[in-house]
Subunit: 586 residues, 2 copies
């Protein structure tokens, strides 16, 4: 049982049969054809030689098939992680040097090690520090950055930069190099691919083609563009006019490689590796969960960490670079009918054959074509709807998205996503720093207490009940102390204060000290301090201090009990009725 | 009114009379006598020439008297801030150089500017990010560091270092330089001062002295040590035997100085300046609050920021270094009967006279005596009781204190306090990442619902009520989603799920998406989703989304309403009784 948990392959391989095999094989063929140009393109985006993209799809796919829990996830290079890779290793080595390729291996190794570590420690929930709005903002900004970074290949110019202003500035300053034949190839490839995506299916349907044919034609679009542009370049000898092409790709199985582990390199790449791991994990898990939900299957996020960790370590030793579960390839795999992770293994075999036999065929493939496939793929990631949605619901979430988008575009992917996380956390802390504290009264005819400012409720001038709408911890402890002191100073007739703790989920040591200070203060003023609706875990904790013993009052199970007991003591059941125009029914 | 808010001097000066003047004068004389050796000592601790300590006590005190809100606070150099200053500027300049003194001015200027900015933006609550345990741990560790840093003066050796291992290592490696006469002076001064602090008062009382005399004698202790050791060195010519002395101190009023504002210097000192500001502010405000509470007065933390900011900017332009409200000097000022901030102004006049006329008198004052006064003062800050208290109450607070102490001792004051803040925040976030979710049932005979695991309550197999004990936000949103899905998958007969929101104080955009996902999931399973006890502010927010409209159920004012309505619908009032041995009465 334990082993099966860590090696999910032992689970599904027992029931593997002929029908599953044939479905997996069909899916593998479709995915392999799609992955050849995609892998080359993402390697280009990462600044690596084209074969690195193919190598990064072989060993990782097999390792994920053994350790991963998703049945449809396809692991390999993806756009955002390729961009992050380029940004990270661009800071330690020059593109095109041997050091650059080694740094990519190191990055994959560190990233894999970190994922494994998180998996073993079962810390998958750490990925939740990336909030939905921050992820959405980051992906949108990354899509824009990636598309812009590919413009240089469409124009046939040199350009560098990790931020939008750098990229645009660099492209503008190199406009003199523009190669018009490259522009014609790049623009027509991009235009054609957009049309395949948006216009081909309706067109084929309108001429009476079956839905299946339309689907296949749509997916074959990128392959068609690759074939047509390659043949054009070869036939017309366009490479001699300055059109940049993929060129020689070694005909070989993935080589055995060793990541560089010098302390300087590791130190420089550790933080980027952690960022890449977390972002890759979040992307992969959300794809895997979406696909698993369609078949009512479940994935285990902690085991996913181990699967992705193994895949990345595999990439580090076989000439690859950081990988994760990709959206496009996984959806194609799923739609093509993949039933088990074996489909991934067959894809790996297909790609290995391609690496050995087919690489000469892409010699004349223009870089502009690869850039076109990337641009069309990533622009579908750009989605500004999140701005509108968060604006309508919560200004602080809107601020987090906006900051993430602007910082990612303006200062680069690493700063952008790190700032997004920090901003989300700070926004949350600020919201809890000045908690909502409501004075409550009894809803007539019930045992329920609500805010006096929103409901018509019964109150007493001698008993003040404050419902504290936040866990009490160091950031807001003093706020409550001030608040209670001020409130009691205002109401001269107050004999008892009840703190209603229904929304207090934690009282840390700083807050305990503040409660003790409140208790001392009220004792000096001869006002009782009572607690009601204290939760079990909070009460367990408070009992370990002397606060409950020293309390100048008592603890009541429910607010209604407290209310009745105090009114009985005061011998006054003449309560006031505070009438409010109810602004909200709650 | 507005002006009076920003210039508290306009408030108290209107009622200033002869009695207040005479009380303030007496306090000023006592504080001045105490401050002369203390200011010299703290300048030594900061690595600055002795006069810097006196200059830092003059202009700042006057500026605080104009802008500050506390009537007893005495502003000037303090131990912890002096240590932080030494640590910060030691990284940009060599001690003893002109650059070092200029860096101290810059640090004071940046620190003052930052405090002013916070004050104008009314962001005083930011200081709450330093939790009580972190402050306590930091002060204790700083006390140890400061005392250790002064050992070199007691031994008469050279030694450097900003961390405990560095200091001890450096002292051990310089033991060959030890000057035994210095050791005799230093050890006897330290021993005598400890005895004054602990043994003098009981001794005087036992011989029948009045309480007042005993008090004065205790306070005069440090002055007596200064006088005796200075005379001894002068009389015996001990400076010629290698005993290090204060030496020439310029006879002058505070000079007009300009802080260096080169971009490199500002960049290097900005983060330390922010740390110093926050720590100084926290120390000062807690002293001021303690003293104000004794007279039932109030201070305004945001105006305090402006007062301390002005004081630091004043220090930057008059040859000083970062200052704040000090504990020892403020308590002495208060005890001596100071009634208004004018006492501070008179102290400033006294120190100015001392700076002009008395500095030749301290020529023969040995550094070892100053070190002894520092050691005795800071060891009273060292208090390990916080470790025991937090251990008993909360292991996570204990972890934060321990980490702060160890990191401050091992890696220096800046890393220590910054890590303390980060650790406290992370601990809090981790606690909220996997919230407590209780299944609740009705307490018989009441309208109150409590945890089924802790209380004997009524439940129904068809209605599952989960009380979510945490605000819902990005870090825990997915946790709730998983949790509800798992819980519903287990209970086959469940027809309705009620989420009891009494403890949910916020639902951010990520959590809204999770709630929508839960709603979709339950709708697919034909299970109703209901909310109860949703607070006003949370409901206002939810109504801005389509969640409430799409809810596969309804929102109820109270949990009891929800329970009754659903049981009526199900036409089953046959509820189960779940009996538990109550582990806690709450």
């Amino acid at each position: 049982m334990g082993l099966k948990h860590y090696l999910p392959i032992l689970d599904w391989s027992r029931t593997y049969n002929r029908s599953a095999f044939s479905n997996d094989m069909i899916a593998a063929v479709i995915v392999t054809i799609m992955l050849i140009p995609q892998s080359l393109a993402y390697a280009l985006l990462a600044g690596l030689p084209p074969e690195a993209g193919i190598y990064a799809s072989i060993a990782p796919i097999i390792l994920y098939a053994i350790f991963g829990t998703s049945r449809a996830l396809a692991v390999g290079p993806v756009a955002v992680v390729s961009l992050l890779t380029a940004s990270a290793i661009g800071q330690v080595a020059e593109q095109g040097t041997a050091g650059y390729a080694v740094a990519a291996l190191t990055l994959a190794f560190l990233s894999g090690g970190f994922l494994m570590l998180l998996g073993v420690l079962r810390l998958g929930f750490l990925a939740n520090f990336l909030s939905h709005p921050v992820i959405a903002g980051f992906i949108t900004a990354s899509g824009i950055l990636i598309a812009t970074s590919q413009l240089k290949h469409i124009l046939g110019v040199d350009a560098y930069g990790h931020t939008l202003p750098e990229m645009i500035g660099s492209i503008l300053s190199h406009l003199g190099q523009i190669n018009w034949i490259t522009v014609v190839i790049g623009v027509s490839a991009t235009g054609f691919l957009f049309w395949v995506r948006k216009g081909l299916k309706p067109f084929l349907k309108s001429v009476g083609a079956s839905r299946k044919l339309a689907d296949v034609a749509t997916k074959a679009g990128p392959v068609a563009v690759v074939v047509v542009t390659t043949l054009t370049v070869w036939f017309l000898g366009l490479d001699r006019t300055g059109v940049r092409i993929v060129g020689d790709v070694p005909q070989s199985l993935p080589p055995l490689t060793l990541p560089g582990l010098s302390p300087d390199l590791v130190k420089a790449l550790l933080v980027p590796a952690i960022l890449i791991s977390v972002i890759g994990f979040v992307e992969s898990v959300s794809v895997a969960q979406t696909l698993a939900a369609k078949k009512r299957l479940r994935i285990d996020p902690d085991q996913e960490l181990i699967g992705l960790g193994a895949a990345n370590i595999g990439a580090a030793f076989t000439g690859g670079y950081p990988v994760t579960g990709g959206f496009a390839r996984s959806v194609v795999n799923y739609d093509a009918g993949a039933e088990t992770p074996a489909a991934g293994a067959y894809t790996a075999v297909g790609l290995a054959i391609a690496a050995v036999a087919l690489t000469p065929l892409v010699y004349y493939l223009p870089n502009a074509t690869l850039a076109a496939t990337i641009i069309v793929a990533v622009l579908s990631l750009v989605d500004f709807a999140i701005l509108k949605k968060t604006w309508g619901y919560s200004k602080s979430d809107f601020a987090a998205v906006t900051a993430t988008i602007l910082l990612t575009l303006g200062l680069g992917v690493e700063v952008g996503v790190a700032s997004g996380v920090v901003i989300s956390v700070l926004v949350h802390l600020f919201k809890t720093a000045r908690p909502h504290v409501a004075e409550v009264g009894l809803v007539p005819g019930s045992q329920h207490f609500r805010n006096v400012d929103r409901h018509s409720v019964e109150t007493s001038p001698e008993v003040l009940t404050l419902r504290v709408d936040e866990s009490l911890y160091f950031i807001n402890a003093r706020f409550l102390e001030e608040m209670v002191k001020n409130r009691v100073a205002e109401g001269c007739s107050i004999k008892h204060v009840i703190l209603m703790f229904s929304a207090v989920n934690e009282v840390d040591f700083s807050a305990l000290e503040s409660l003790e200070a409140i208790n001392e203060h009220l004792k000096d003023m001869d006002v009782g301090l009572h607690l009601s609706e204290v939760k079990g875990p909070v009460m367990d904790r408070l009992k370990q201090s002397s606060f409950i013993k020293d309390l100048n009052g008592s603890v009541h199970l429910s607010q209604f009990d407290a209310w009745q007991a105090l009114l009985r003591d005061l011998k006054c059941d003449a309560v006031q009725m505070r009438s409010q125009t109810p602004t909200a029914k709650n």
